[in-house]
């Protein structure tokens, strides 16, 4: 079951790359890379290299897709695997919703930190986001909050005072 799930994931990702490659080749490259009048006759324009890459992505994605589909069909036709599927065996340990969502929540928090960093500055953004992140990760020891805070202060000193980076 684990293998089937992995292959399904591969089929989706390869399809995304194929679709993305086609989008680039058909719409994005013509729209985003202008070719000047006198360049049209040249063999190698600004578009050539991106075109070579995107078409290569499409070809490799198709090959990858075919390969994964073949593997998927082979696995599905395997009687042992089908039996497992029928019995509904749980190959994975059950994860809580929070456990699944935590990377995305952390990503959201990083985005918020980036926005606050730009708008209200490093110190305030860090004071707000750092404890929230520690709390979300399950940190309940005050000492850990102090350590992370000290690190944040050290980063400020190093970048702002020693390296003269104009932090917002």
């Amino acid at each position: 079951m684990e293998k089937i799930k992995k292959i399904r994931k591969d089929i989706v990702s390869m399809s995304v790359f194929l679709a993305g490659g086609l989008c680039f080749a058909i719409w994005i490259i013509p729209a985003q890379i202008p070719v000047r009048g006198n360049q049209g006759a040249q063999a190698f324009t600004s578009r050539t290299f991106p075109y070579i890459i995107t078409y290569s992505i499409c070809v490799v994605a198709v090959l990858g897709l075919l390969s994964t589909i073949l593997q998927y069909r082979k696995l599905r036709s395997d009687p042992a695997m089908r039996e497992k599927g029928d019995k509904g065996e749980q190959a994975f340990p059950v994860k809580s919703t929070m456990e699944i969502l935590i990377p995305y929540i952390i990503f959201g928090l990083i985005v918020v930190y980036g926005v606050l960093f730009r708008s209200i500055g490093y110190i305030v953004a860090t004071v707000i986001i750092l404890p929230v992140m520690l709390f979300l990760l399950g940190c309940r020891k005050w000492m850990h909050y102090v350590c992370a805070g000290l690190f944040a202060a050290m980063v400020y000193v190093v970048f702002k005072i020693l390296l003269l980076v104009p932090l917002p």
Partner: protein, 499 residues
Amino acid sequence: MIDIIKNILTFENILMMNVGVAAGIIIGCLPGLNVIFAIAVLLPLTFGMPSIAGMYLLLGAYCGAIYGGSISAILINTPGTPSACATVFDGYPLAQQGRAGDALKTALVASVVGGLVSCFALLFFAPQLAVFSIKIQAPEFFALCIFGVTAAVGIAGEQIFKGVIMALLGLLMSTVGIDTTEGTQRLMFGHIQLMAGLKVAAVMLGVFALSEVMSKAQEVYATRRGSSAIPITFTKANIKTREILSHWKEIVMSSVFGVIIGAIPGTGGAICAMFSYNTAKRMSKHPEQFGKGCIEGIVAPECGNNATSGATLIPLLTLGIPGDAAVAVLIGALTMQGITPGLHLFTQDKVWVNAIMGGLFAINILMYFQGALFIRLFANVTRIPMVIMLPCIMILCVVGSFAINNASFDVIVTILIGFLGYVLKKCDYPIAPMTIGLVLGNLAETNLRRALIMSNGSPLIFVTRPISFVILLISFISLFAPLVKHTFDKIRGKGGVAV
């Protein structure tokens, strides 16, 4: 000569070497954080520094992190970096016998010896390769870029299609910005900040460091009640350095392997460590002792993996081709300082080559003293809970990406690339080919264009010139060899081809 030494051994340079080594050891001994991460995180600190001091900080981190991986391998049975994967086999059993200090000292001495041998290799072989590289023209350079990219795909192991897609994605990312030949805007989507292209440093911070924050968050949350205490108590080392050096056969053999393997793009310390360990075991008079805590079992992999450190710089300094993803990040640092690695470093910017070669020697010697004096302190680093590390890494990434150009736009790039990196890692896509593709993209395109101009548009130029033909042939063999091997295995009924 004295002038070179004087230039290298300034207070600032020595300080940066020490800081780099210490940071590298600390990051290296934290499981899950690797050499690339160490360099990527320290990269922003170099922007405001003199170029040589900044380079020493990163080189120190590079060497320190390779060694640092052995500390957690010995003390908590978890290799801090993939390079230390073979150190676990004998390091941990030796520590379990109450000889943790001996195991750590053995790893330190072997690492330093391996590193010094690697420096000599860099010193002697890099100029030879540089002389050879004079013969190289645009078609050969393009072939070398293809070789670098296909070698990086080799890192992906059996996941050939995924590796190739990632390398192509990296090449596509390298086309963002103004086309330097024709002055055309490419894939900028109206953002003037992308005129100079995607900043390699911003991409590296996102793809290696920030994505790791998201990946590790799940692990940290799942094990939030667990602690990362050291199960083995630290003991003082009783083993003498000469006892370790008495295993000279393993040291020489592993160092040679390290230099050879390290100089081949797309290989790296982990492969060399495993290869050295297996060879030492096969050649040993008492192979039954391997895996039970024998000294040779630590000497061989540690010497081997550190011997790759200088050797990976040989293709970088002579041809401008990164040997692995860690060196690709170093290229990013060099580029930020306005230095383009390649042959002209040996002809025009010789100061740089001397500084790097001499600096590596000094770094390895400093690493020995740091390891000998502060090993207990470094061992305690494995106690730092990941829950503290993650927010700290996030802060460092955001501030670091801002510091690249003092622009918030780079922060946005880092965050978005970080998320992309997380999703790709989750789908088992290897990241290293993408970074090498990004670094080599411009070089590849420029030389492809020049080669086609040379041949009036005929792509046959790549196969009619012997050097470029041989390089391309090796590239395609290295790319398709795992696929062919798997097909044969499949025919014999051993298994299928992984995507």
